[in-house]
Symmetry: C2
């Protein structure tokens, strides 16, 4: 049996975060030692690793909850899991598209300033006047 510190070191998930996941119901309330300290087995380590991986891929807590519920039912169809992953891919692509537009605009704005003083600063001017932008955002 591991302490919460052991589990934290093994998974790279911070201790308060583990407790937070417990509070959110992503991991079951842990067994306790005589002195009321949490004790974990290998199953919890795997579950936490799953959660960490999903978080790194940007899944929300809610999506992870669904994925964990699904993974407990091996005989169910995997449509829903595929749907959740596809949805996350779409969300990431949306963000990517937005960020690419921002990058373009910022690159233009940041590389465009040839003034010395704020008076002539293109950064300030571009922010003050939306018409100086090439694309909308």
């Amino acid at each position: 049996m591991m302490t919460i510190g052991d589990l934290s070191r093994k998974t790279g998930v911070k201790i308060p975060t583990i407790r937070y996941y417990e509070e959110m119901g992503l991991v079951a309330a842990a067994e306790r030692s005589e002195g009321n300290q949490r004790r974990y087995g290998g199953g919890e380590r795997d579950r936490l690793a799953f959660i960490k991986h999903a978080r790194e891929l940007g899944f929300t807590i809610e999506a992870i909850r669904e994925l964990l519920d699904l993974s407990a039912c091996p005989e169910r169809p995997c449509e829903q899991a595929d749907r959740i992953a596809a949805e996350q891919l779409r969300a990431v692509r949306d963000k990517l598209a937005k960020l690419k537009r921002l990058e373009q605009e910022l690159k233009r704005i940041a590389g465009h300033c040839h003034g010395d003083q704020i008076r002539d600063c293109y950064v300030i001017q571009a922010l003050a006047n939306h018409d100086l932008c090439e694309h909308d955002h």
Copy 2:
């Protein structure tokens, strides 16, 4: 003089957000009518448009505060403004790089599932086993 609702419609910034910006000190505390309602002039509209534009480009409130302070000093050098914009560009590029990696991995994971049941679902398996990933994230 505009009411807060007029200002909101003209700039596209929601009323509670305008009040929030006032609380944060991005816009000065507005003049008030006899009945204690906020009243705005064209200067505030321009300032709010500046803030909105900067937020759309992802600048933090703190960065915007600095940019606004700078824009009030036309004779100062514009190095700092350029630095803030360059820093934001860097932040956006960092996020872009991370998201691109996520996109790759999610695309691979989401497009890889040929099972019918959760038992064989690649999405679930990939999340459970980090070794199935091509890159780190």
